[in-house]
């Protein structure tokens, strides 16, 4: 009573008294809770012991990984599939440097992450202390933003800002470097309700005049193509995109990151474009008079030779990142803003494009050169295995891939139905992404079918996460497209280096099934075409642990079509 009697005279002091006291480490954990974090992926070490001690009491789940790179890719897979930011906590020095590849991957593919790295005590920074690395310096060019926190009182604001920056505008990774002495400082915890960063105010609403112009150009075009990327998936605009495609009657193609933006089975969908895109999608882009780029960035794997890319087209470019516009190509109508908001406005006013003849032409090209592969042997063609995975696991499964030939075949033959279902490392091209990403997605969607399509090369780059998946009884399907090669490297060596297979054979591969079983997972070798369906169906029945299918496929298969690097559609190579 006496205490209450004194305090009301000073509202400020009263507020202070009511604020809970906690350590910096506890403040971070509390902030995570306020942000609605469900999972933290990480691995402890000296400099982040206080933080892991606080995490011991957390209401959300902490997932111990076997390698920090795995933690980041899991967080990416979780983020990409759920649309929520992924969270990673690791220690200083090697713990932090092990996250670098994953952070760079998230930066290139605009994946929202908050990564906390332990750091040596703040007074030791710069002294070459044990497990010290200049992590804010190392990560500077591969993060959307980073912080080195030297005062625990800043933590609630910094964590709040980190989540805000990671998820607003064009998403990306934000890193907080967190010295261990700061995590032990005591503060009065007050979590800010709002964020105000004067240097970060992304434009979300598209310019109405530009949207009108775009609508008019679409209606007046005779040969339009809609080309969409990861931005459609990220902004949750798949529904609006389908509406635009159907309302205008325009053919549509996706980048690798944009797959799922339009259902793979949609009649106006031409498949992927670019280096390994379909002949007809690339031809349509080559001959179009209007290219509507939505949430895509004219990456070199899409455009090839810029001078010959869409040579007769006017270009409309919709993107939330102003720096993506006119970076690679000259744009006629730029519209900066959130893809979803812009498409909602565009759909209100846009009418049908007069392109019946154009659609007919594309149909005939599609008949002339469809996506195809030789399917003549008892042995398993890799494309066949992926086609059957799609047919049996279903187009509503979440699919992750690693990087290389299998990735391209997955993009071509695993036709997913919706956004956030195709998880792949598009920008950085990180071998080792697929398996941990699938684990992250399975954490986010415990009841969905999650399948990692990987290669014998890529899989070995983060194979250790099998322990994490087994421990948590995750029924991730792992389809190893095993051709005993670094297949894409081999393909390029065949085509451009006179068949000199320098360091691209994978002799020394382990028995992947035995390895899976050693971890407590299960699996089967699949050697003949006739065994494929049964094996995939069997994998569906495994619900309490990972299931690995080792598809022993024809070894020297090539990915077609292919536009060689830096070339144009005119030089496209298709299978004979």
């Amino acid at each position: 009573m006496g205490w209450d009697f004194i305090v009301p005279y000073s509202p400020y002091i009263r507020k202070k008294e009511l604020m809970p006291k906690m350590t910096g480490a506890q403040a971070v954990v509390e902030a995570f809770s306020r942000e609605g974090v469900e999972f933290v992926f990480g691995l402890p070490g000296g400099a982040c012991l206080p933080l892991f001690d606080a995490l011991y009491d957390a209401k959300f789940k902490v997932i111990l990984v076997r390698h920090e790179q795995g933690a980041v890719h899991m967080a990416e897979g979780y983020a990409r599939s759920t649309g929520r930011p992924g969270v990673v906590v690791v220690t200083s020095g090697p713990g932090a440097t092990n996250t670098v590849t994953g952070i760079a991957d998230a930066f290139m593919d605009s994946i929202p992450l908050v990564v906390i790295t332990g750091q040596v005590k703040s007074f030791l920074i710069g002294n070459d202390a044990f497990q010290e690395a200049d992590v804010t310096g190392i990560t500077r060019p591969i993060v959307k933003h980073n912080y080195l926190v030297k005062n625990a009182a800043d933590l609630p604001r910094v964590v709040k800002e980190a989540f805000y920056i990671a998820t607003h505008g064009r998403p990306g990774p934000v890193l907080i470097d967190f010295p261990s002495d700061v995590s032990l400082q005591t503060i009065d915890f007050e979590y800010p309700e709002t964020v105000s960063i004067r240097g970060f105010k992304p434009t979300l609403e598209g310019h109405p005049g530009q949207i009108k112009k775009a609508a008019k150009m679409i209606e007046e075009s005779k040969r339009p193509v809609i080309y969409t990327g990861g931005g459609v998936v990220i902004s949750g605009a798949a529904k609006e995109l389908i509406e635009l495609v159907e309302k205008t009657g325009t053919p549509c193609t996706n980048t690798l990151m944009g797959l799922g933006g339009v259902p793979g089975s949609h009649p106006q969908f031409m498949g992927m474009l670019g280096m390994h895109g379909t002949v007809f999608a690339n031809r349509a882009v080559h001959e179009c008079d209007l290219l509507v780029a939505i949430g895509a960035r004219f990456d070199d794997r899409v455009t090839g030779d810029l001078k010959k890319f869409a040579p007769n087209a006017k270009i409309i470019h919709i993107d939330v990142d102003p720096s993506a516009i006119s970076k690679n190509v000259k744009v006629d109508v730029p519209i900066v803003g959130d893809v979803k908001q812009i498409l909602v406005e565009l759909n209100k006013i846009v009418g049908k494009a007069d392109c019946a003849e154009w659609m007919k032409a594309i149909e005939s090209w599609k008949k002339e050169s469809p996506l195809r592969y030789k399917d003549d042997s008892e042995a398993i063609r890799p494309q066949y295995a992926i086609q059957r995975l799609c047919d049996i696991l279903g187009s509503n499964a979440i699919v992750s891939t690693d990087v290389g030939q299998h990735q391209m075949w997955a993009a071509q033959y695993y036709k997913v139905d919706g956004p956030n279902q195709f998880l792949t490392s598009g920008g950085l091209g990180t071998m080792g992404y697929g398996f941990p990403a699938a684990i992250g997605a399975q954490f986010g969607f415990p009841d969905k079918t999650v399948c990692c399509i990987t290669g014998d090369g890529s899989f070995q780059m983060n194979i250790q996460e099998m322990a994490t998946a087994v421990l948590h009884k995750l029924p991730v399907k792992i389809a190893v497209i095993n051709n005993n090669y670094l297949g894409m490297v081999r393909q390029w060596q065949e085509a451009f280096y006179n068949h000199r297979y320098s360091s691209s054979t994978m002799s020394g591969n382990p028995d992947f099934v035995a390895l899976a079983k050693a971890y407590g997972a299960t699996g089967r070798h699949v050697v003949k075409k006739a065994e494929v369906d049964e094996a995939i169906a069997w994998s569906k029945t495994i619900t309490d642990r990972p299931c690995l299918l080792d598809f022993v496929v024809t070894e020297e298969e090539n990915v077609y079509p292919m536009i060689p690097s830096g070339k144009s559609f005119e030089e496209i190579m298709d299978m004979a």
Binding site: T136, R140, P141, H145, G199, L306, S323
Partner: protein, 170 residues
């Protein structure tokens, strides 16, 4: 045609308002090296608002690259405002300190130079004269060439600082 028409490389002077915090300068400089942009000079100082610094940056770029430089700078969270001063009218100054061998010829040149430019004698001994020059980039360049002919003993230069001369809208 989807490609940009080539434009000549020119010097542009940018005034960049940033958070006055550790690490901000490395973000700005790192951006230039990571993306292959060229910086001719860079100068930083606190502003009237102690939470803000102004970076004056002289970049060498064609039109397309210049657009990218401005957009990429704007993307940095700690960058608050990027102003391209080149076309809106500005005053720029560089500071140059130069030591020359003391000689009658040098003293004579100094008289005519200080009539023409902002050049001051700031230190003198029988062997050396030290001059302070505060001039525009253009004039600093001219002075530099003149001093080179006279024989420079040692020289130190800053990057340019600049402010817009445009009247505020009020």
């Amino acid at each position: 045609m989807a490609v940009h028409d080539p434009t000549p490389i020119e010097q542009r002077i940018l005034s960049v308002l940033v958070e006055n915090k550790p690490g901000v300068l490395s973000h700005v400089v790192g951006l230039f090296s990571a993306r292959g942009f060229n910086i001719a000079s860079l100068a930083v100082g606190e502003t009237e608002d102690a939470t803000l610094s102004r970076i004056t940056l002289v970049a060498e770029a064609d039109q397309k690259t210049l657009e990218q430089i401005k957009k990429q700078l704007n993307k940095l969270i700690d960058v608050i405002k990027v102003q391209d001063l080149t076309d809106e009218g500005f005053i720029d100054r560089e500071l140059m300190l130069v030591k020359l061998r003391n000689s009658p010829k040098v003293k004579e040149a100094l008289v005519s130079l200080s009539a023409q430019y902002r050049v001051k004698l700031v230190d003198e001994n029988p062997k050396l004269v030290t001059l302070e020059c505060t001039e525009s980039r253009e004039n600093t360049k001219k002075l530099f060439n003149t001093f080179k002919e006279l024989g420079i003993d040692e020289i130190a230069q800053t990057g340019a600082v600049a402010l817009s001369t445009k009247a505020p809208k009020d």
